[in-house]
């Protein structure tokens, strides 16, 4: 079958997106195997995974404006894989916390998650991402119709919850979380109809 140069370029870019999204995982595994994850490797993995989740989620949110406003049409095809990779890192973030850090101790986990707002907002962000990941298939999109779009707008809520989670986790200096929050808000503004047109 004939392939146009644009679609070959698109495929190449798609490959770069997958590689770039998986590279942090590979780097973390590599660092872990070489004892390079600080004296506190569990926390290092949790924090790294959380950071990658936020980065990829933000990248996913940038796809629509890139595509529509900056006319990089192909970018819209990166939105779903980036979102799913963000969910993968979020799941790793949460999974290591539950399984390794707390060893599935439900009593301690209940206290750690539900009695502290910082963990609770992170948990909420994770639930939103879970719902979006499950319904990210074409089948679900068809079944939900217009509702699918409405549902997937919740990704901005997940992003902002993640930023709040991050801001409440740091000891005092919240400049980094604020910067992420500003970027997400900006990306949200770019989606508003008056800006978009």
């Amino acid at each position: 079958m004939h392939q146009s140069p644009t679609s070959r370029r698109a495929r190449l870019l798609q490959g770069v997106i997958h590689l770039a999204s998986l590279a942090p995982l590979a780097a973390t595994i590599w660092a872990g195997l070489h004892g390079d994850l600080t004296a506190n490797p569990i926390q290092a993995i949790i924090q790294r995974a959380g950071r990658y989740a936020l980065i990829l989620l933000t990248a996913s949110l940038a796809c629509a404006p890139l595509s529509s406003i900056f006319e990089l049409r192909v970018a819209i095809r990166w939105r779903r894989p980036l979102g799913l990779y963000a969910f993968m890192y979020a799941a790793l973030h949460f999974g290591v916390f539950v399984a390794v850090d707390y060893g599935f101790d439900l009593v301690l986990l209940r206290e750690a998650i539900f009695e502290k707002r910082f963990a609770l907002v992170g948990f909420a962000a994770g639930l939103v991402l879970l719902a979006l990941a499950i319904t990210s298939t074409r089948g679900w999109a068809r079944r939900l119709g217009r509702r699918w779009e409405q549902l997937h707008r919740l990704v901005y809520v997940a992003g902002l919850l993640a930023v709040i989670h991050y801001a409440w986790a740091v000891k005092a200096d919240i400049r980094q979380p604020l910067a992420w929050g500003a970027v997400i808000v900006l990306l949200l503004i770019l989606r508003l109809p008056p800006v978009r047109h």
Binding site: D101, Y102, L108, K116, W168, A172
Partner: protein, 343 residues
């Protein structure tokens, strides 16, 4: 009988402590008389304990243990010497944290907020010459040279647990001397109720201090009876040799029953004061950090639980002990204090 490593003390030091305790007893009695034995009002310091209670709280070497005492080296080996320790566990049987972890995983915001980077960023920090000005409400204010402190006070090993407010912990074989010895030398006045400590302010050498999100320098404080407690030391070394910059060289406080941030590093100033000092963290985040900062699994940090901790080098969490496992020695200091209120 199992002898706690922290109890292995040279005989002369043991004797000097006994003398010191008598001295403190006399001083507190004096203070009690001076203050008319009035119970303090509000959240101020509790009335100093009677001398008898203090003596029993202080871990005194039982006579039988004296023979087991090891000689304290007179000159502490330099920071680049091989790490050594007098025991492989603390008194609870918990293994020492590795020298590698202790010297590469540090909270020292004066240099950087990245724990793993502190060792590198601080590696050229100059710790000589160094002086510590001890003053305030004392009869004999004096500025000590660090070399003088190292010569004058025998450096003894204290194996203590360190519990960070961020819910990780280590077991560290410190070298140092009781803060009380130094304070006794400058003769606190009877009005002195608290001790205020200050870290060096040197933004040229400490990059983190060029960042103005908090009011440098770092300030910490202890109540005078906490400062005089035998567990409270000024550390000059760890693992048998002088401190590295990332661990607070050349002189840092260690109060093992309090969260790690109380153990102020790079001390240049110690003042005896009448009013409760405001620490850097109290000023920066007053709703999160109180003056006492005693390790307490029952009082959560406003944002996270303090019920458990991760011991560096271990996989899963362990339960946090009240007063970091030193309740037997220090709980008496806080009789009558609501630890939920005075966290």
């Amino acid at each position: 009988m199992k002898i706690k490593s922290s109890e292995i003390t040279p005989e002369w030091l043991y004797l000097s402590r006994r003398k010191f305790i008598k001295g403190v007893a006399a001083a507190t009695t004096g203070a009690l008389i001076a203050s008319g034995c009035a119970a303090p009002t509000g959240p101020g310091p509790a009335t100093p304990e009677p001398a008898a209670a203090r003596a029993s709280d202080t871990p005194i070497v039982p006579p039988a243990a004296e023979s087991a005492a090891t000689a304290t080296p007179q000159a502490v080996p330099p920071a680049d010497a091989a790490p050594t320790a007098g025991a492989s566990t603390d008194e609870l049987g918990d293994k020492l944290t590795s020298h590698e972890a202790i010297t590469t995983y540090n909270n020292y915001y004066e240099f950087t907020m990245n724990k793993e980077a502190v060792a590198f960023v601080a590696k050229d920090f100059r710790t000589r010459p160094w002086t510590v000005a001890v003053g305030g409400l004392v009869h004999k204010p004096k500025t000590f040279d660090i070399e003088e402190l190292l010569r004058k006070y025998p450096q003894e090993e204290r194996i203590y647990r360190l519990r960070c407010v961020e819910a990780w912990s280590m077991v560290i074989p410190w070298l140092g001397f009781p803060l009380g010895s130094l304070l006794r030398e400058v003769e606190p006045m009877s009005q002195a109720r608290y001790v205020r400590f200050e870290t060096v302010l040197d933004p040229r050498e400490m990059g983190g201090q060029r960042d103005s999100w908090v009011d440098w320098p770092y300030v910490e404080g202890l109540r005078l009876d906490e400062a005089m407690h035998d567990l409270t030391i000024l550390a000059t070394g760890l693992y048998g040799k002088l401190l590295l910059p990332q661990n607070g060289a050349p002189l840092r406080l260690v109060a093992p029953w309090k969260y790690g941030f109380k153990s102020i590093k790079g001390i240049v100033k110690i003042d005896l004061v009448a009013e409760q000092p405001t620490s850097l963290w109290m000023a920066t985040a007053p709703e999160e950090y109180g003056f006492y900062a005693n390790v307490n699994p029952a009082v959560a940090h406003p944002r996270w639980s303090q019920a458990t901790e991760r011991r560096i080098g271990e996989l899963s969490r362990r339960k946090t002990l009240p007063f970091n496992g030193y309740a037997g020695q220090v709980a008496g200091l806080y009789a009558g204090l609501d630890l939920r209120q005075d966290y």
